[in-house]
Amino acid sequence: MTEATTATPSPVATTAPPKPRQTRMRDVILYPLLAVFTALILGGILILVTDRAVVQAWLNFFDDPMAALRATGHSLSTAYGAMFEGSLNFGGILRGIGAALRGEGTQELAVALVPLAESLTQAVPYIFAGLAVAFAFQGGLFNIGGEGQMLVGALCSVYIGFKVTGLPWYVHLPLAMFAGIAGGAIWAAIVGVLKAYTGAHEVINTIMMNWIAISLSTWLLKVGGPMARPDVPVTPPVLETAWIPRLFDTPGNRFHAGFFLALFTVWLIWWILYKSTLGFQIRMVGANARAAKYSGVNVKRLWIAVMAISGALAGTAGMVQTLGVDRWVGVGFSSGMGFDAIALALLGKNHPVGVLLAALLFGTLKNGATRMQSVAQIPVDIITIVIALVIVFIAAPEIIRWLYRLRQPVAKEGPVFSKGWGS
């Protein structure tokens, strides 16, 4: 023996304790922030190269370098200025507060609040739809059917909203809300049942159910169809007794109580996932369905429950939008929101609070894009690209790490995002 074999523990090679919380913080907060920031910069470049005045000024850079820089600054500040003014309008709000403090009345403040209120209003359905996808992901299911579930939810709510008459609002509104929630839940639960008892993959079936919902709505809403008006392909308006109340009477301010329902639901979903025995089982099934089965969880029943809850959330997204904002449904109602929801879940790392923040971001960007288009003549598509870039950076954190020279985290925790494609 060449060396003594006494049992002196080696002083080296003590495994470093991984710091889950720290990894979480950078995963959940730092990366998304950097992703948004980078996407806005790239979006800015895109705005510049598509702005003829800026390009012209740069072509003449050697004659008049200052003009080129001026044009650049002008173009960017107009575009992003319009966007922030149209979505947040913090400057206007401050001026409004000032005016109110000077005793000039609250009228200016009320008007200044409209853009922010509209951003929040637009975020509401995103919050629910994002929660729907994130919740299903936590249970290991990939719900691409948000689109169809939203549509069914909206149709059910609106139907109760205009068909049932003579009820006081405190009966009619809850009834219409419940109809939307239940409609979405049942639409998704069908997929859960199919997966549990036939093994049919939920990705395929949610896509199929989307098409069924869309075709169904086209039939229901065609001119003179069962749910449509005789002259136009939309439903009759929802009766006032089934409206989700709007909270401001300033013209153009559509902010409604559904926002608070959304905040409550974020808390509720967080509580279910992390504090309840149901959530423990859902996350267990999501992380390792075989181990869940081994430990006595009824995986099939759980799949159905997860799909039903996920569908209920998506149905709620359709419900709040129709009862709170639109107050009727037409063909092409959700226009891709159910798919944006997948991006929201990705952006929010499947955590309810993350989804909330991502939805607020989406609402703000989409709302700002409208103003950007009208003021700076920049197509809304730029914002679509910015959002797409955000998603790319979140999906491939490697890019962000490389750009900002961040070190690779040592221990990876949490379920893999693409889990839904597995067995």
């Binding site: 090679a13 889950p20 504090k275 949490g414």
Partner: protein
């Protein structure tokens, strides 16, 4: 003579971990050199450096006296280093020939020259006794033969340094013996072999020299003829290890588990368990011996409610639990150490403390109705991590970050810390190092002595021989014999595992000679 391969002062750091600390290793021409160490000692890191998958932070590699750098697997092969991984890198739907060609295709014009390759495979397999048919699809081959294909793949690329990473982990005892013959034959033809293992007996039987590493450092190097099991075990673990289990005679009580004429299908809808019957009493360990794939997996899954029973009955503690759900069976007081700990036994991304309650989370004090009591779960974890000696910086880290042995201890802690009547342990020590094996065996015996009925399924015959009070030999879905452990020898059980009847086995093989029970690997 210059050594074929020399590693000098190889150091590799990972964030927070010194995986290899100034490791020196010398491989002589035509020798089998064993690299022995516990899981997580740094063996795999070292071999990945040698195979070019990692770059060392410090240190030099010499091949035949020439200093060299290895920049990746292709480069390693070019320099004559071939590796056979523990998990095979074969494409099941391709033939042996096609698998061997993959990544190194010989072409005649635009067409693959399968014939020439097949001829060379035949030549290689004849020269080294590696029997294999080049035209058979890999998916139709047994595990042992697949491993031969891996070796042929490496030899086909003219490797003269062969690294085998835990090659026997997936083999039956007979297949392992065949492998050893092949390796000896390769050695006699001048191939130098690094044999990675944590099984002492294999190392002593096969290797010429052994280097033991512990926590990233070389703790000793010695010719195997000067070594013995106790000494190697102590070097490897860093403390004295009991290689034999002190086992007082069993005091069997009432029947706890009984199943009759059990029939169970496997995933391919074949009858994997075909009329098996057995009784296990309180306070005894019944060992199920058998070559893997004779229905043990399906049997255990049926007993624990994970797989439907086609025919027959199962009773546990007097209650009929045929086709009952896993939860009902757990509630009967059954503990189950599953065969595949990462797939079935653990939720890898979950922290240790949650993994300790995955089948009890709905009971007080871990839950009040619908509300999970995380505080109670954490407190229990603190206690169990201490009591079951799980080596971890904290109970809050994901269980995925633990070594295999510590992961298994988490399962053992979960299953043995609640009141149980029956313990079903399937391959409880597979892939574990001596220290962990010793520990888990002691815990199983402890449970037996407390009056728990134990059904132990293991492919390690030594484990069965050492722990079981009665042995049930499983062959093609049936029990061919159920005998007292003292009445048969290891060889006799081995014969029955291969299909002999009890009478044949008793007549032919050596009788049990020693009562001493040696159970470590």
């Amino acid at each position: 003579m210059t050594p074929v391969l020399e590693l000098r002062n190889i150091t590799k750091r990972f964030p927070g971990v010194l995986a290899n600390d100034h490791i020196n290793l010398t491989l002589e021409e035509g020798e089998i050199h064993a690299l022995l160490g516990e899981n997580g000692a740094g063996k795999s890191t070292l071999m990945n450096i040698l195979y070019g998958l990692y770059h060392p932070d410090e240190g030099e590699i010499y091949i035949r006296g020439q200093r060299t750098q290895i920049n990746g697997p292709t480069d390693a092969i070019r320099q004559g280093i071939g590796m056979v991984h523990q998990h095979f890198m074969l494409v099941p739907v391709l033939t042996v020939t096609e698998n061997v060609m993959l990544g190194n295709e010989s072409v005649k014009g635009l067409v693959l020259d399968r014939k020439a390759v097949a001829a060379r495979i035949r030549e290689i397999s004849q020269r080294h006794g590696l029997e294999v048919d080049p035209d058979v699809r890999v998916e139709d081959l047994s595990v042992g033969v697949r491993q031969r294909v891996e070796i042929i793949k490496v030899l086909y690329r003219n490797a003269n340094i062969l690294i085998l990473d835990e090659p026997t982990a997936v083999l039956t005892p007979q297949e392992a013996d065949d492998l050893f013959e092949i390796l000896r034959s390769l050695r006699s033809q001048g191939v130098s072999i690094i044999f990675i293992s944590h099984k002492l007996r294999e190392v002593l039987a096969l290797a010429d020299r052994v280097t033991v590493i512990r926590r990233g450092r070389v703790v000793g190097e010695t010719p195997t003829k000067d070594a013995n099991q106790a000494m190697l075990a102590e070097m490897m673990v860093g403390r004295r290890v009991a290689l034999t289990v002190q086992k007082p005679p069993a005091k069997p009580g009432e029947v706890v588990l009984a199943f009759k004429n059990l029939k169970v299908l496997d995933n391919l809808m074949h009858l994997a368990v075909n009329g098996a019957s057995l009784e296990v009493r309180a306070g005894e360990i019944v060992g199920v011996a058998g070559v893997q794939g004779n229905g043990q997996t399906e049997l255990v899954e049926a007993l624990t409610g994970l797989r439907p029973v086609q025919d027959g009955t199962i009773t546990i503690a007097g209650k009929d639990v045929t086709n009952a759900s896993p939860r009902v069976i757990t509630e009967c007081g059954v503990a189950h150490i599953p065969e595949d700990r990462q797939e079935d036994g653990l939720v890898l991304p979950f922290p240790i403390h949650d993994n300790l309650v995955i089948n009890t989370f709905y009971h007080p004090p871990f839950a009040n109705g619908w509300v999970v009591n995380h505080e109670a779960i954490r407190q229990q974890a603190e206690r169990l991590v201490q009591e079951f000696d799980v080596r971890t910086p904290s109970a809050a880290v994901p269980v995925a970050t633990l070594s295999g042995g510590n992961q298994q201890k988490v399962i053992v802690a979960r299953e043995m810390s609640r009141p149980i009547k029956l313990l079903i342990a399937n391959q409880p020590t597979r892939g574990l190092d001596v220290g962990s094996i010793e520990y888990i065996h002691r815990r199983i015996l402890e449970k037996r002595d407390q009056g728990v009925a134990v059904l132990l399924v293991s492919a390690e015959l030594d484990e069965i021989m050492g722990l079981a009070d009665r042995i049930a030999v499983m062959f093609k879905g049936k029990f061919t014999a159920v005998v007292d452990a003292d009445e048969v020898s290891k060889e006799q059980v081995g014969l029955m595992m291969a299909g002999s009847s009890l009478e044949e086995a008793l007549a032919h093989a050596p009788k049990p000679v020693s009562k001493e029970r040696e159970i470590v690997t």
